[in-house]
Amino acid sequence: MVARLILLLLLFQYSGTAETSSPGAQDLSSILNKRVTNYNLGPSRLVEALVHVSNDFQIPLGIAWVESPTADAKTPFAWKNATVQEIIDSIVRTQAGYEVRVKNGVVQISPSRDQIADNQNFLKVKLPSFEAHNDFVEMASVKLHMLVTPRKYGQLSIGATGDSRVDLELKNPTVEEALDALAVASDHKIWVVTFIAERGLTPRGMRRTISLWNPKPQPDEEQPGWDLLRWGDPMPPLIASTKQQVP
């Protein structure tokens, strides 16, 4: 019998937790309907612009996009007398094949099925359940990844900033719904899935992803992946207009 035994899972707490609030459905609607008289992002990339709007208006955001030269091109974004919803819509409309939805307390930007077929999109995969009990958000994200890509690991070590814990219990969620729940429950208010343009599939039949922090796709056995951002985090290298030093 081949069995794996979890040896030990030690929890270290060097810091306290911080309260994080997320706008409720009503609040999110109010934010999206808010009219802005003058808003100028300057030349920005698609995802960069959306992350800026999320930061500036405190909007939980989920972005699934396909890296491409057009999505990587900078567009000069500026608005006068527009609602936040109109700002988001107009950013997304600069690229063909994306749609905007408000769901689960999160503004979601998703590629059309022409770009990523549902059966090749891991975000659409249904999980039996997803639970995190007083876990640091970084650990909860690892737990979710282990459900999406089960592996028998040998060694595990997870570092965390240590300022956001989550309590979640979801029955039969899609991966997308689980990421939405992480964004709502934690201080990591933005999730980003970056599909690579190349249409090849992993051995499990899914489109490959890369990280905003590393342009090289991870090995197939660790595919797919996502990035979590806090409001106000430095813009990751893959989407930043100007090169930044990683702190």
Binding site: Y153, G154, S157, G159, S211, W213, Q218, G225, D227, L228
Partner: protein, 102 residues
């Protein structure tokens, strides 16, 4: 300041962990590498949320047994600095620099 961690080679490797998949702070995108937007708090502290291992040799005939150690250096990369600590893994415990942490 950014943080990420990486593991070196096991020696000795009583739990046969060498070559088994590793999960680190920047997994899955950058296993054993980084950075990946995990940072210290403003006072420089950070949390090691989990440290553990799985080994088939710890289970014999469906029952837990003792075994080990597998010793491996773990490096924490904190901005441009690094801290190396020695992890000693047994079926029943993990020591960090010779001390059992709980």
């Amino acid at each position: 300041m950014s943080i990420w961690d990486s593991f070196g080679s096991y020696s000795p490797d009583g739990l046969n962990l060498q070559g088994a998949p590793v999960v680190t702070t920047c997994s899955p995108n950058q296993t054993n590498s980084g950075p990946c937007n995990v940072n210290t708090l403003s006072d420089g502290t950070f949390t090691e949320a989990a440290l553990g291992a799985c080994a088939t040799v710890c289970c014999v005939g469906g029952a837990c047994t003792t075994g080990g150690p597998s010793d491996v250096p773990q490096t924490w990369h904190i901005a441009s600095s690094s801290i190396v600590q020695q992890i000693s893994e047994y079926c029943e415990k993990i020591l960090v620099n010779g001390t059992q942490v709980q």
